[in-house]
Subunit: 289 residues, 4 copies
């Protein structure tokens, strides 16, 4: 295997000796263990591990590595995945008519601060095409009506699949995705919700926040699931506000939080820092985030 | 009037010239205006003002001041209140078996950082009596059962009224107060809820926060109203948490937030910084909070 | 005067009756007072006020307003300025080779979230020209050596003056400006420093932060003065970091703080929220920031 | 060994296979590894590990464990320490005349939220004796003058040593300790400094913060070293402030930050989460802090 970082994500029933067995396995295969993070959920008696390896100097192939690992993984009932640093992930952005998240993500991609290929921007409006053109990213305008929803989603799925998209980012795409769509990309669609979930689920959270007179507003990035705004939470943040805020100024203040929260969530996903367990996202920290 | 700070809180329909008329009034009466804070709610077309005056050198009496002010206030449809610095407010604390908010408030009172008299601690358990004794505050143990709830609340009301209590602080009092009780002390009961409202209303918020996998936990101080956990929010704060938190550790982390949030809300109330409008609390900032 | 917001910034020795006199003046001239914020510095016995007026329906001209105001201002020893909403400010950005602040500010200007004209970008490197072109803003490449510094600064001054630039933003311009340059634009040059001032003044703050093992890193926006990194602080923010951060990852984490801090400082300046007093910047808050 | 948590802290030159070798060692001895945290400093090529073990069911004695571990540790050049959960640490508090940190720590100890024995309070003033009495902790009043400093410190050292004190907490003890004293308790004295270090080192940080017009104030907990305010930083936090703050109100706002920062640092130390490397404190996180 050529020099690269290899990341394993592992989830299994808790038991004695796991960390020793796993780290031994990689040591025996000649890897240098860059980091090894674990989390024990003692309420559910389950174990989670993220191991980052340096493949430098190993002579094993990817296939050999995975086949050998199966011999360790199967008797211990691992759910696991492996991710190779030499494979760059393909990303699609979905937007409607709000631009701040789109600008922010494109700037990060362009400046090399998010490690992926942005292959396309898909929108149900034509309004943000000029931004796609500024950043030289293909823009697909696929309008939607109640009648054409199924057809439009079919077109999107075809676009995503034919471009081998690994991650879909709903950067303020203001349409509810069908279960069919969601289930086609499990844990591969990240959505930004403009409130601190589970407060103010559904539409118009800034209006509701104003009416409730909250003293903090927030944003939440989560994996999209069939239950709207109920998916595993990846990242959240808030900012203090005062009684002076109107729904309109809350929206402006919120935009900066939404940008940071979505960007961090995307980075965590692209870095393979996340294991989903039920409705909870285990997010291993990484320095330099 | 002897030397003291006098605070007016005013709420009225918005109209031209309010700040000039009000500040003129106090200037003519010989007051020095220490601060004058306003908030215009242009959605509801209403106006809010907090004026702090230095009475030093004035010769007007309290009665004369209030009678004169009525001549300004009535034609402009003011709702208003006035608060004199020479009258210290009487406070009652209500607790059950959690001690952190109680310690924190008593320490602040004792060290002179909350300007009031703590007249009593009321509890439905006997567990925290030793803390009352440490701080030399009368402790009333009034146990409660489903059958005695009405009677117990009657005893509390009698205690509060006979001691001229101005403010009731529910410092983790784990009983739901009846509407009769709540309405006896409108905007004079402050409650601390151990989550970021309106997320996780009702019981066991830390358990629910764990199950939802949130990345921030918080606390909310609000005025008690008939609708549980729906009263005007005075103060909120949050702290980042990770997937590693259990309901138990969330409780420990949350305790520090609860202490700060309740203490700030109480300080804002005692300083006459708050005007309640519908379900929203207008909280004017004050340096040195 | 046509319909617009007019903002007065006033600084004078403290004395009785100021708020009444000032608000009366504007009320008499037919203005609606949108907000009136004051700050009394009792240590230095000085008074600061920011008044925002709605000119709607007034018949007074700008000249008449200013001449009348002088009659109030002179006997009370006001330092004051007035700013009319119908005059959009001209802004110049100065950069070197770091792009994150530039992208962020251009996005905000483009999306209408910073009320000004970005007239030009000036750089001592050619590296960021493509960003200027993406956003259609003139780019001036003015390289600098020790020998040509005086000449280069002369060229910049000429560019700024001939374009009537009101505000210069050093968005990571990595050159020390001469006193001559600084004094040509007093309180009109905003700089972003990549640390929490006064910690880590001077060069390489992220390196120093790593070596000191700090647990928070920050950014500071301030007016440029002759003493490097000593000018009045407008805005600061920090983010928690851990021992795992390297100088390189601190730089990445810091970039997001720098973007927010500089954008807020620029907004505060453009909104006329700031009065500088000695080395302290009085920054009046504004909802919707 | 009876059922308890055993914590190893290890620091050594980085090399391949460390995590496998160490976890194997403990697995072979029959321990369950509760958590295993590592940090690689690639700038200095050094490796840090914190391992928490459950001794439940092991038959090895403490001596046997430590002797066996030496065989692993010596060839790999470990600096290491081991800490047993069945040994409660003894703590001494040093104070002068400021009470907030003292109240806060005593409340936490009393309520079982800091796992240690508070054996004594030492002060150069008699002012806080009543708090010691409230919490039933021995209070030693040891006044100090320039002439008696050496003698007074000698008395303190004798008190600490004869009571087997493991940790000294300077909870706002306003005297500079001599090098002799500091070096007697290396990495066993924690100090709270009332600013965000390295800003505003030395005396009167709130005064200096006011004069500099900062928009955030903070607190820093660090190990005491010979160079005043230069020791390894354990914990820091800040809070936003405005131009309205005076040195006096900054002090009040700061008190709440100081309480949280010192309490967290003490908890991190008591939980054996810290390894000091040069002037940097490696602080491993722990859920439930």
């Amino acid at each position: 295997m050529k020099s690269q970082v290899v990341t394993f994500l592992i989830n299994c029933p808790d038991q004695k000796g796991l960390v020793a067995k796993i780290t031994n396995f990689f040591y025996d295969k000649g890897f240098n263990i860059l980091s090894c993070q674990q989390y024990v959920n003692s309420i559910e008696n389950s174990y989670f591990m993220r191991v980052r390896l340096n493949a430098d100097g190993t002579i094993i192939s990817k296939d050999q590595l995975e086949n050998s690992f199966l011999e360790l993984a199967d008797p211990l009932h691992f759910s696991w995945s492996v991710h190779y640093g030499d494979k760059k992930q393909n990303v699609a952005l979905m937007v409607s008519h709000t631009s701040h998240n789109l600008y922010d993500l494109l700037e990060r991609f362009r400046e090399g601060r998010l490690d992926c290929n942005v292959k396309m921007i898909i929108s149900n409006h034509n309004k943000l095409r000029h931004i796609a053109e500024m950043f030289d990213v293909p823009f697909y305008y696929l309008p939607i009506t109640k009648e054409t929803k199924e057809e439009q989603e079919g077109q999107i799925i075809q676009l995503l699949d034919s471009n081998n998209i690994d991650l879909v980012i709903m950067a303020r795409y203001m349409q509810i995705l069908s279960s069919r769509f969601i289930n086609h990309y499990p844990q591969r669609i990240i959505n930004i919700h403009h409130s601190f979930l589970p407060a103010f689920q559904g539409a118009n959270p800034y209006r509701k926040a104003y009416e409730r007179g909250v003293k903090l507003i927030g944003a939440t990035a989560h994996y999209a699931t069939e239950d709207l705004d109920e998916g595993p939470i990846i990242e959240q943040d808030v900012k203090p506000v005062t009684h002076e805020s109107t729904p309109q100024t809350l929206k402006i203040i919120g935009a900066d939080i939404e940008k940071l929260v979505l960007a961090r969530a995307v980075k965590n996903h692209l870095n393979h820092q996340i294991i989903v367990s039920g409705n909870r996202a285990i997010v291993f920290p990484e320095a330099g985030e």
